[in-house]
């Protein structure tokens, strides 16, 4: 028998029920005649507090609230990919079919298609003993991804019967287990999992493999590991969303979960449109085949916005359990923190810094700690990488969400307003950003790209740092009075900034660049520096060096060398040599 309660008071998305209802914390409830979805957030002898995931207009005191007996959870089965959900895993396309262009309230749709028959290959046999997490069947979910159906983590037993390979819906039983207590249990493709609980794994690996994104400032300068965490903070207009889109498009993760948390409706539409047209560079299949979108735009109910982050995370963990590398883009975690603040205000909780609740930090850490490279229960290895956008109030990085996020992520890509104003994209500032993964990933770069890679990267960073201190002097006295070797540093730093760090997302070659090309570009720039420095040391003035157009030619390598013609780099090396000779002869 399910518990019920009666509405006593309503204040925006928060409702109060009188008396001891017997509900559980975090239990999902249906509110009122329209059966709005809600969650229990506080219990008291005299009062139960529920947050409602939909608009509460029209609710009356006295209406009934029915408990469901389980926490707010997601349905896990084939059909998640190539789909777009709201914050509590309701498919937006199905909502549109049933309710039209605008999202009405109390829509009741299944999370996943229960009619569709999936081609299923059973991978277990009778008599086998299965543990939680073991794979029982494989279903080709999309062209790119093989969905692996698993035993729920808390179940184990001996297989007593299996069906033969064929087409099944997500509700049809595939395998029957005899549990240790003698009962039998039928397993289907479907699992349910509460969104606020992490799915169990065997153990965690240290970070050792980078997530390759094709973005030079990330891959080379501030890399992120598979299973790592990164924050992308930046005021509005600095390109947070663009950075997230680029990573979602080009990174080498198997699966992308894109959470639009409190963001713009048009932006989600753009992601949908663009991803359906773009193809995955690795296998030529549409990007949507490996993508799930969670869209809770800023005008959708605030409580569902708070939940959307967890919904996305749980879906990601489910695919990780199959042995995939999953990357989560959360855009933006500030909107999620603000949803927490809004709800906390409605509950009249004591506010801490800037009105945020005192538990902001612990919620953030719990969120980011669900990332990681894991050894799963079934013996496979998979990872969840979290890349969270942060929208600091007024672009000020000292506000609570940015500061607390910084404590729990190991990679920080600080977007800079002045770079964005100068339309230097990606506007990730090389002096404020950092990556703690650099040391962990160094062996990988040495083995897979070049033994010189990390050294080159550090030399580039050193040049950029010298530039920044030189610019302080230039600001005071102008650049003309600098000695030539310092002028050369400024010029080379310019080449690095424009030719290497700046990357054009709309250019067909420049939008995604392989590690090999990234390395060759660094190599060419540093070779130019070496030769020019030799000339400057010999006393040739910078004005002569600059009269050659070699610096600008190196800058436009990113456009002029197509990604499949890397042999062209040898020509650039020869050009630098020729430049060297010309300067020598001219001033002989």
């Amino acid at each position: 028998m399910l518990n019920t309660g009666t509405i006593y008071g309503i204040n925006g998305p928060v409702i109060y029920l009188k008396g001891n209802t017997g509900f559980c914390m975090s239990e999902m409830v249906y509110v009122g005649k329209q059966k709005l979805v809600g969650e229990v957030i506080a219990l008291d002898k005299d009062m139960t507090t529920v947050q409602v995931y939909e608009e509460t207009t029209g609710l009356r005191p006295g209406e009934e609230v029915v408990a469901t007996g389980s926490a707010v959870s997601v349905t896990l089965a084939p059909g998640i990919l190539n789909n777009i959900f709201d914050g509590i895993e309701r498919p937006l396309e199905k909502i549109a079919e049933s309710g039209g262009a605008f999202i009405t309230r109390g829509v009741s749709v299944d999370s996943l298609d229960r009619q569709k028959k999936w081609q299923t290959h059973i991978t277990v046999a009778e008599g086998q003993f299965l543990h939680g997490g073991d794979i029982i069947a494989e279903v080709p979910e999309t062209h790119a991804i093989m969905h692996k159906c698993m035993v729920p983590p808390d179940t184990e037993g001996t297989v007593v019967s299996v069906v033969s390979d064929g087409e099944y819906t997500i509700d049809e039983p595939l395998v029957t287990l005899e549990l240790n207590n003698g009962n039998t249990k039928e397993l289907t493709m479907t699992q349910h999992w509460p969104i606020r609980a992490a799915r169990p794994t065997h153990h965690r690996f240290p970070a050792s493999v980078p997530l390759i994104t094709g973005q030079r400032i990330i891959d080379t300068m501030f890399p992120i590991a598979k299973g790592g965490t990164a924050a992308v903070p930046g005021g509005f207009g600095t390109g947070k969303t663009m950075t997230q889109h680029q990573i979602a498009k080009w990174s080498d993760a198997d699966i992308i979960i894109y959470i639009g948390c409190g963001e713009r409706g048009n932006e989600m539409t753009q992601v949908l449109e663009e991803f359906s047209h773009l193809t995955d560079p690795r296998n030529g299949k549409p990007l949507m085949d490996r993508t799930t979108l969670i869209a809770n735009t800023s005008n959708m109910p605030v409580a569902a916005r708070e939940a959307s982050i967890y919904t996305g995370l749980t879906l990601a963990e489910y695919y990780r359990d199959m042995g995939y590398d999953v990357a989560i883009m959360a855009d933006s975690t500030s909107r999620w923190a603000e949803a927490l603040r809004e709800l906390s205000g409605r509950l009249e909780e004591m506010p801490a810094e800037e009105g945020f609740p005192a538990y902001l930090a612990s919620r953030l850490s719990a969120f980011y700690e669900r990332a990681g490279m894991m050894h799963n229960l079934n013996g496979t290895d998979g990872s969840v990488t979290i890349i969270g956008a942060v929208s600091p109030q007024g672009g000020d990085f000292s506000e609570p969400v940015t500061q607390n996020t910084k404590r729990f992520v190991r990679c920080f890509w600080g977007l800079d307003k002045s770079l964005a104003y100068a339309r230097h994209f990606p506007a990730i500032h090389w002096l404020t950003s950092y990556s703690e993964y650099l040391g962990d990933l160094a062996p990988w770069y040495q083995d897979h790209v070049s033994p010189k890679f990390v050294d080159y990267r550090n030399r580039l960073m050193a040049l950029l740092n010298s530039e920044s201190s030189l610019l302080e002097i230039v600001k005071l006295i102008g650049s003309d009075v600098l000695p030539d070797d310092q002028k050369l540093i400024l010029e080379i730093a310019r080449v690095i900034r424009l030719g290497f760090l700046q990357q054009n997302a709309f250019h067909k070659d420049d939008t995604c660049v392989s590690m090999e090309k990234q390395f060759l570009m660094m190599d060419t720039i540093l070779y130019l520096y070496k030769q020019s420095r030799a000339l400057v040391t010999m006393g040739h003035p910078m004005s002569v060096l600059k009269s050659e157009n070699i610096f600008d030619r190196i800058i436009s390598i990113k456009y002029d060398v197509p990604n499949d013609r890397l042999e062209m780099f040898t020509q650039y090396r020869r050009d630098i040599d020729a430049f060297y000779q010309r300067v020598l002869e001219k001033n002989a």
Partner: protein, 461 residues
């Protein structure tokens, strides 16, 4: 017949508590009759069993605990909709104030609207030519976009909005163009200025005006943009018109929200604004866009005055996170008599990249815009340097940037209030100005585009 309640339990500013109500629901609209003569309406904002907290739109003047009769209407805030609303003037809660009689229509809508499903949206791509170079060239306005003007007191944001309305509508020959104008807490003069502009430019028949003036009740302001947008959505998605919505001034709206929130005794967050400021602003701004398969669009041009010109103030800050870019006006440019005083560096149109270029405007548009932004950013650096070491000491290239900056501000950003430039004029002017800079400096442009369009300026000597 619904029950009437006599008397009230308490009055606190615009908030009224009423006890003993039966069958009331959250967000329901109630009607008050005061002393048997004056009528007011209010909305239930909180409800606890039989006690309702009601917010009175017209303010609680003349109400006492005894003289008021209250009646529940049984529906949330609704407005009657009809195509006849064009050419009419309404108060902040959608009641006609132009003596032309009420709007008769059986079609009524909840003003709160519903969120538009992202899968049913169409991504906006058609640009709107405003004839203003700084907007068309650098922060292009797209049909279905929400692009606010961030301004300050004393800056010509009203003139700019009026010029956009005039030139954008004139360029559009189809009859299906209309304007919904919502004023929240604006001065009489401002409302009057817009009314005259609409009449002068011959679009008055295509305008629905919703006026909540500075001395009108504060609470009414909270509903004004919602009423206006409900009308806009109806005209766009059911009457298939292209609607430009002007909302001015969003700062008054947010401040009204703070006032009401504080009298409700809510816990304040930033600068005393309630925690739900973001959600509330979003429900307004997000009501712009295009629905798939429907011929019609809602484009929003909200105007907000930044308190103390501070772009990091919560109102502009949160707005910037919701809207698709912003046009920022600058006091310094205004001081130099440059009109429109648009500071292009912090200005941005997020939808621009997909609505310009080949097939929309011209192939060189994006590269040119990037280059102009980047060059103008360098002008700022050169000016800073000049203020320290003096202009004479600058390097030759920095001097060129100074010249470029001056010309750019006067010729490109600056233009007449009635000057209507075509997109070709705007783009060509951009290249002409870039001609003042040496070719090596133009590092944001694809080599092929550069070959085709770049012409160095003849040295006049």
């Amino acid at each position: 017949m619904s029950i009437e309640y006599l008397g009230l339990s308490s009055i606190n500013g615009p908030l009224i508590a009423l006890e003993g109500v039966q069958d009331a629901f959250f967000d329901e609209i109630v009607e008050f009759v005061i002393d048997g003569t004056e009528r007011k309406i209010g909305r239930i904002v909180e409800i606890y069993e039989d006690k309702a907290i009601i917010q009175v739109f017209e303010g609680s003047e003349n109400m006492s605990l005894k003289n008021t009769h209250t009646r529940l209407t049984g529906h949330p805030m609704e407005i009657a909709l009809s195509p006849d609303m064009l050419g009419r003037t309404f108060n902040g809660i959608g009641q006609p104030i132009d003596d032309l009689g009420p709007i008769h229509s059986s079609l009524k809508r909840d003003v709160n609207g519903l969120p538009l499903n992202p899968v049913e949206r169409e991504y906006p791509r058609n640009y709107i030519r405003t004839g203003i170079s700084a907007i068309d060239g650098l922060t292009t306005l797209i049909r279905g976009q929400k692009l606010p003007i961030f301004s300050g007191n004393g800056l010509p944001h009203d003139q700019l909005a009026a010029q956009i309305v005039k030139q954008a509508s004139l360029g559009d020959s189809d009859e299906k163009f209309a304007i919904v104008f919502a004023a929240m807490g604006v001065k009489h003069d401002v409302a009057d200025f817009f009314r005259r502009t609409f009449e002068d430019s011959g679009v008055a028949d295509h305008v629905a005006m919703f006026l909540n003036l500075a001395n009108d009740p504060v609470v009414e302001r909270l509903i004004t943009p919602k009423v206006a947008l409900t009308v806009a959505e109806y005209l766009a998605f059911e009457q298939h018109m292209h609607i430009l919505v002007i909302l001015t001034d969003m700062t008054s709206f947010a401040e009204a929200m703070r006032e009401v929130s504080s009298s409700k005794g809510e816990i304040p967050s930033r600068k005393g604004f309630p925690g739900y400021l973001y959600s509330e602003l979003a429900t307004i701004y997000e009501r712009a866009g295009i629905v798939q398969g429907v011929d019609g669009s809602v484009t929003q041009l909200p105007i907000l005055t930044m308190p103390n010109d501070d772009i990091t103030h919560p109102i502009p800050d949160l707005t910037g996170y919701i809207t698709e870019g912003q046009i920022v006006l600058d006091r310094e440019l205004n001081g130099q008599s440059i009109y429109p005083p648009i500071n292009i560096l912090p200005s941005l149109s997020r939808l621009m990249k997909d609505g310009i270029g080949k097939g929309y405007t011209r192939e060189d548009h994006q590269d040119l815009a990037n280059q102009l932004f980047s060059a103008y950013a360098k002008v700022g650096d050169a000016r800073n340097l000049a203020s320290v070491i003096g202009e004479d000491e600058l390097s030759a290239i920095d001097k060129k940037y100074l010249e470029f900056g001056k010309e750019f501000e006067t010729q490109y950003i600056g233009q007449g209030m009635n000057e209507n430039r075509s997109i070709e004029e705007t783009l060509d002017l951009g290249w002409k100005l870039l001609g003042r800079l040496p070719k090596e400096e133009l590092d944001r442009v694809d080599t092929k585009i550069l070959e085709k369009y770049y012409k160095p300026m003849e040295v006049e000597e």
